[in-house]
């Protein structure tokens, strides 16, 4: 769990706008804005005070600003009743919001070269990260992808703040036709990247991790796993992750993540409980085997 305590507040909506194919809501939430570190998210209650929708909706924080004591912007697409309700919010409506939540992106101590890889709305948390890295004197290169041009989030901003910005689309409507992983190796080589940060769907993160490991550079991924509470109590957003001790655990994306070291996430086993995970049928057998091997 992050050591920074999240706050729960009733936040007035400041603005509602459209960014590319996404809805963007900015709320006045000083307590969240001042605690925020890039990679963290907010958990928003939907449907009003007596809502029949009991799970919160989680959104990566896109931007915090000092206006009005502190504002927070998050983005979403309408995918169900909850996000449809959110899309109808207007200025001065109140939102019940908790944040900042989750483990943020760790930042390098030295001014190194960082490549930031995002797919679709997964690009959102990379923007505050890019700003934080730039403030530390890091070089930032963006690789952003999406199904089509309007789904490549914030391409203009990416161009402005990064040393280079490379885009890919499935239909070729922007940048290279293909996926981010088709161009990543070249960007890493040309930019002499020291670190990779990635956020997007699991298959993309798996491939990005493989590429980063091929080059032997650290990779931090922010996973997109369905969450229900955002605070760690419902235990629904689990991902198999290998711990420092070499043991795989069903880690909660909301409090143990969403940012993990890429090589620690068992991407091939996402959506399953690996046989040797802590508490799974095979975990004891494995530890006995290991002990036997260590004992020679």
């Amino acid at each position: 769990m992050s050591d920074v305590r999240p706050v729960q507040m009733s936040s007035p909506v400041l603005t509602v706008r459209q960014v590319d194919a996404y809805h963007a809501i900015t709320v006045v939430a000083p307590g969240i804005a001042e605690r925020f570190r890039s990679g963290q998210f907010v958990a928003v209650a939907v449907g009003g005070e007596h809502s029949a929708m009991l799970t919160r909706r989680m959104f990566a924080i896109h931007e915090v600003k000092p206006d009005y004591g502190g504002t927070v912007e998050f983005l979403f697409t309408v995918r169900g009743k909850g996000t449809a309700w959110l899309a109808e919010r207007r200025s001065r409506d109140l939102l019940d919001i908790i944040g900042p939540l989750g483990r943020p992106f760790p930042l390098p101590r030295d001014p190194v070269n960082c490549v930031l890889v995002g797919g679709g709305s997964g690009s959102v948390p990379l923007f505050p990260l890019a700003h934080a890295l730039r403030r530390r004197g890091c070089r930032v290169d963006f690789v952003l992808g999406g199904a089509t041009a309007s789904r490549v989030f914030n391409a203009m901003t990416a161009r402005r703040i990064a040393e280079t910005a490379t885009f890919t689309t499935d239909d070729g409507s922007l940048g290279t036709k293909g996926r981010v992983t088709d161009v990543l190796a070249q960007v890493i080589e040309e930019a002499y990247s020291d670190v990779v940060y990635a956020c997007g769907p699991m298959p993309m993160l798996r491939e990005v991790t493989a590429i980063a490991m091929h080059y032997g550079i650290p990779i931090q991924v922010s996973v997109e796993e369905t969450m229900a509470c955002g605070t760690g109590i419902c235990m629904s957003c689990v991902v198999p992750v290998v711990g420092e001790d070499g043991i795989t655990r069903m880690a909660r994306a909301c409090v143990d993540g969403p940012v993990f070291r890429g090589e620690r996430v068992r991407f091939d086993d996402v959506g399953t409980v690996p046989f040797d995970a802590l508490g799974a049928p095979g975990w004891k057998a494995r530890s006995v085997e290991d002990q036997a091997r260590e004992a020679g």
């Binding site: 769990m1 929708m53 689990v238």
Partner: protein, 330 residues
């Protein structure tokens, strides 16, 4: 305007006495967390002081670590949540070494929920919790698969459930009350409750989740990995209230921790009136991590509005003059 002494005294006199007694167990107030919705208190402590509620009822502890079900584990339903976590947890060793001492260091009362796959496992858990200092009570989660009978829940067979309760009661230190937590998915809840009480349960926790299912019509597959899951939240509240009411009618002297979709002070009051001596807030915590404190505040307000001085005076009040209602229901 500063309050004069008289007004202060009047206000103080209006604050109702929230203490409740569940057999030998006295709680400062009737609001507790529901097992499986509050971890071991650590996550919620970031939102409110967990020492201020009646008790923290922990997520069910098992003998060995458990990995639980794969994701997806949860689906939202109208006013409810369907879940299949599968008792993921670190096991009793880590619980007594790490989680229990932490809860006690925060000044919280710890009611420890236990789940096993066999009578022996429940006995082990009761033993370990009796050796550990500071356990306020043990809640026996009987909606756990009985591995000796093909994974059927213990509650499916009243004899099997009674056997577990008797074994836990026998093993646990005599000053630790034992509560049997029951699911409403049984043929005869009142009979099952009776068996558990006869087997030595000091109280009952009613109710566990109701079996349910959600099918994703786009993928044409069950929405949660376990196929079926446990339904919780306000969607099951009337079922839970009926269970508490029926069991209290049959065994008015047996203390009940009531739960099932409690999200407001009024909901809590409803369970007290049905016969619960304490109320557990569960699924509401997913929506509002400070729900326990809010429910407590709202309950206090409801009592003040009704001029009720002692919350205990309302327990089971809905039964007064209602003889035979339970039989007539339906």
């Amino acid at each position: 305007m500063p309050l004069d002494a008289e007004t202060v005294a009047e206000t103080a006199a209006m604050i109702p006495d929230l203490r409740v007694r569940l057999g030998e167990l006295e709680l400062a107030n009737p609001v507790v967390t529901a097992a499986g919705c509050a971890g071991a208190g650590r996550e919620l402590a970031r939102f409110f002081d967990i020492a201020r509620i009646g008790a923290v009822v922990t997520k069910s502890v098992t003998v060995e670590p458990r990995a639980g079900w794969p994701a997806p584990r949860i689906a939202e339903t109208p006013s409810g949540v369907l879940s299949t976590v599968g008792l993921q947890g670190p096991g009793i060793d880590v619980f007594v070494q790490r989680d229990l001492p932490w809860l006690l260091s925060r000044g919280a009362r710890a009611v420890v929920s236990v789940a096993g796959g066999s009578v022996d496992e429940y006995v082990t858990l009761a033993q370990r919790l009796s050796e550990a200092p500071g356990v306020t009570a043990i809640e026996v989660n009987l909606s756990s698969p009985d591995l000796s009978r093909g994974g059927e829940h213990f509650t499916a067979d009243p004899e099997a459930a009674a056997q577990v309760v008797a074994a836990v009661r026998e093993t646990a230190r005599s000053d630790i009350p034992v509560f049997a937590k029951l699911s409403p998915d049984v043929a005869d809840l009142v009979a099952l409750a009776g068996k558990c009480v006869a087997a030595g349960a000091d109280g009952l926790a009613l109710v566990n989740t109701v079996r349910g299912m959600v099918i994703d019509v786009d993928t044409m597959r069950p929405a949660v990995a376990g196929g079926m899951g446990g339904l919780s939240g306000p969607a099951i509240r009337p079922i839970a209230v009926a269970c508490v009411y029926q069991v209290h009618a049959a065994y008015p002297e047996v203390p009940i921790i009531g739960m099932g979709g409690i999200g407001t002070g009024r909901d809590a009051l409803e369970f007290l009136l049905a016969g619960a001596s304490a109320v557990a807030v569960g699924t509401a915590l997913f929506h509002d991590p400070s729900a326990c404190m809010r429910v407590l505040r709202e309950l206090e307000r409801e009592l003040i509005d009704r001029g009720v001085e002692r919350v205990e005076s309302l327990i089971g009040a809905a039964h007064h003059g209602m003889g035979g209602l339970g039989v007539a229901a339906g």
